[in-house]
Amino acid sequence: MKLEKIYEMAKEYLEVLNGEDVKKKKVKELKEEIEEKISKLKKKAKNADNDEDREDYRKEIGALKEILAKLDKKD
């Protein structure tokens, strides 16, 4: 068995043992994450090979912006 596989299994096992609570990210933390994601997607859209891919990235950015707006309201 590969070392990475053993590591993954050990990690999963520890997560199961310690994972008593579900994840609960803070709004601020989430907003930062989304903004970072949007900027990455913008770069990808700029370097896209075709219009179709560019359009897909644009739609995803739009969805993330909508999520961000919801989070702003929550804040």
Binding site: D21, L30, A63
Partner: protein, 585 residues
């Protein structure tokens, strides 16, 4: 409604019986323990599959004479034909034995059970099988802790046998006072009427006692003390033989088609043999009297003569039936068609050993719901006439859908029953064992998972009508309606493709963003919101009937895709904050 009322009535009656009678508590508990034991034994034999036990059974039951011999010997040793019948039903369920062999064993076991009558009539005592129960339960539990599959299986078998013995013991304890209270002499009736009455009494008493051996012991005692006539005792013994098949029927009720066939075969064996013997009863009794003289039984030793009768009765049945076993098997196969059990999708992750560690059981449940979703994608893909490997992960889904015009035959009802419903029930059932031990947040996640299961099940059901019409309009000469149905297929295929990407992304924000993009796409594709339906009707491109069918199917497809998106959000978004935002989108 009537069935429901009857169940309540029976439960009410049972509660009253338990309240007023101390003995009945033991009898009813005995039946319960007996059935639990049967389940353990079945699990135990399944664990043995592929191992030594299979070879031993194969060697001892590969021909009908061998099967019959096994039945005779094993029953004579174990002292219970009912127990052998239950073991054989477990063997059949685990597919360790063929129906012909199983029938051979149970027919042989009928002869083997006469050993009890000989012991009772000769030694006046019977081995107390209940005395073995507790040691069996103790060793069974210890063996179950072992890692080795066969040892674990042995543990289950011992535990099961222990419970079965314990159950029979409880039933017998409960009936002990009843047995003393029955005065059989008050029912003595001469002639054929007496024979029929006593056969009926034998059947009913054995059904209640759940043991023909116990009934025979009772009969022999009554006969030895002069409470009943010899002919009436013979009728009781015949009745006991028929009544004991009810035990096998009880086992078969919770098992598969093969087990039902075996139970019916056993009922036929005992009933037909009984009819044949009753028909020539007086000649048969004379024959037994004559044979008793040959083996040295004195003419007034009715108890021994009854044992001899019982042996010849079963031997007679065996001789008649042994030649018809293959024909009987053919008939029984037409009587009960193989049920879907074999094809039922079994849970992959719901391990009961893990239930004590709630966080691990939580993960197992989540993985099982994903398994359920995978099953659903198979049927949904086939319903839209696509194979998953053709379109998942491909860029040109639109073209793939339009090019795939071959009709895929699919019975959605059957698929739903075998691959969705059973797994759905298992997941719901499993989660009840640990959900109360979880934190509130995780509890609500599990409740969400149950909702996801329901959505998956409904999505599959919703595709039934859709599948029928896709098959119809894919072959239509009207290109407009064909294209509309292709668009519905594309919507569903793209939904499953996006969910496939979501599944592998490991980024919950990505799940949310992609779901949102997909929902917007589906809204734009809708035949009503896009205004396409108006144009198609106005320009007479499709007729009114096509239009209403399309509207209904469009609504079905919309429901299916929405449910799938909902399932994806539940499954792959655990973060409470992200989940709440997702609900608002």
């Amino acid at each position: 409604m009537i069935k429901k009322s009857l169940v309540y009535l029976l439960l009410g009656g049972l509660a009253y019986l338990l309240f007023v009678s101390q003995d009945s508590k033991y009898i009813v508990a005995g039946v319960g323990i007996f059935i639990i034991g049967m389940h353990f034994m079945e699990d135990g034999f399944k664990l043995f599959s592929g191992g030594m036990l299979e070879k031993v059974i194969a060697k001892t039951t590969d021909t009908i004479p061998k099967s019959i011999s096994l039945g005779v010997i094993a029953t004579a040793i174990l002292q219970s034909s009912s127990l052998i019948a239950i073991i054989i039903i477990s063997f059949l369920s685990a597919k360790l034995i063929t129906l012909s062999s199983a029938i051979g064993v149970t027919f042989g076991s009928n002869l083997g059970t006469t050993a009890t009558a000989w012991i009772v009539s000769y030694f006046g005592l019977k081995i107390d099988i209940a005395a073995f129960a507790l040691p069996m339960v103790i060793f069974g539990v210890i063996f179950r802790f072992f890692e080795n599959k066969s040892t674990k299986g042995m543990g289950n078998i011992l535990l099961g046998l222990g419970f079965v013995f314990l159950g029979i013991g409880y039933m017998k304890d409960g009936f002990e006072d009843l047995k003393e209270g029955i005065d059989l002499s008050q029912f003595a009736v001469e002639g054929y009427l007496g024979v029929l009455i006593y056969i009926a009494i034998g059947i009913i008493a054995t059904m209640i006692l759940q043991s023909s051996s116990a009934m025979l012991a009772l009969t022999i005692t009554a006969l030895a003390t002069g409470q009943i006539m010899y002919l009436n005792a013979i009728a009781l013994a015949i009745g006991a033989n028929i009544g004991t098949t009810i035990t096998a029927a009880m086992g078969a009720m919770v098992s598969n088609a093969n087990s039902k066939r075996l139970a019916v075969g056993l009922v036929m064996f005992n009933t037909v043999t009984a009819f044949a013997v009753v028909f020539v009863l007086y000649y048969f009794v004379d024959f037994v009297d004559m044979m008793a003289g040959y083996v040295g039984i004195s003419p007034d030793d009715y108890a021994m003569k009854l044992s001899l009768f019982h042996t010849f009765f079963n031997l007679f049945g065996l001789v008649i039936w042994a030649f018809f076993i293959p024909r009987l098997v053919t008939y029984l196969k037409t009587l009960f068609v193989e049920d879907m059990e074999t094809y039922i999708s079994k849970p992959r992750y719901l391990n009961m050993d893990v239930v004590e560690v709630p966080s691990a059981a939580f993960e197992a449940t989540k993985k099982e719901v994903i398994h359920l979703y995978e099953n659903a994608t198979e049927v949904l893909s086939h319903a839209i006439m696509l194979h998953r490997h053709r379109y998942l992960g491909q860029h040109n889904i639109d073209n793939i859908v339009r090019e795939s015009t071959d009709i895929i035959e699919l019975d959605i009802d059957n698929f739903y029953q075998t691959r969705i419903k059973s797994l759905y029930s298992d997941i719901v059932d499993y989660s009840t064992f640990f959900v109360s031990k979880l934190t509130d947040d995780k509890k609500s996640y599990i409740i969400g998972l149950r909702g996801a299961c329901r959505d998956i099940a409904e999505a599959v059901k919703d595709t039934k009508e859709l599948q029928k019409n896709i098959a119809k309009y894919l072959q239509s000469n009207n290109d407009y309606i064909k294209e509309e149905y292709n668009l519905l297929r594309i919507s569903i295929a793209k939904t499953m493709d996006v969910i496939n990407q979501i599944k592998n992304s490991h980024d919950e924000l990505d799940v949310l963003a992609k779901s949102k993009v997909l929902q917007d796409y589906l809204k734009n594709m809708d035949v009503i919101t896009s205004g396409r339906i108006d144009a198609l009707i106005r320009e007479n491109k499709i007729d009114k009937k096509m239009a209403t069918t399309l509207l209904n199917d469009s609504s079905n497809a919309y429901n299916v895709t929405n449910k799938l998106i909902n399932v994806a959000k539940i499954l792959w978004i655990e973060d409470v904050t992200i989940k709440k935002i997702g609900e608002q989108l």
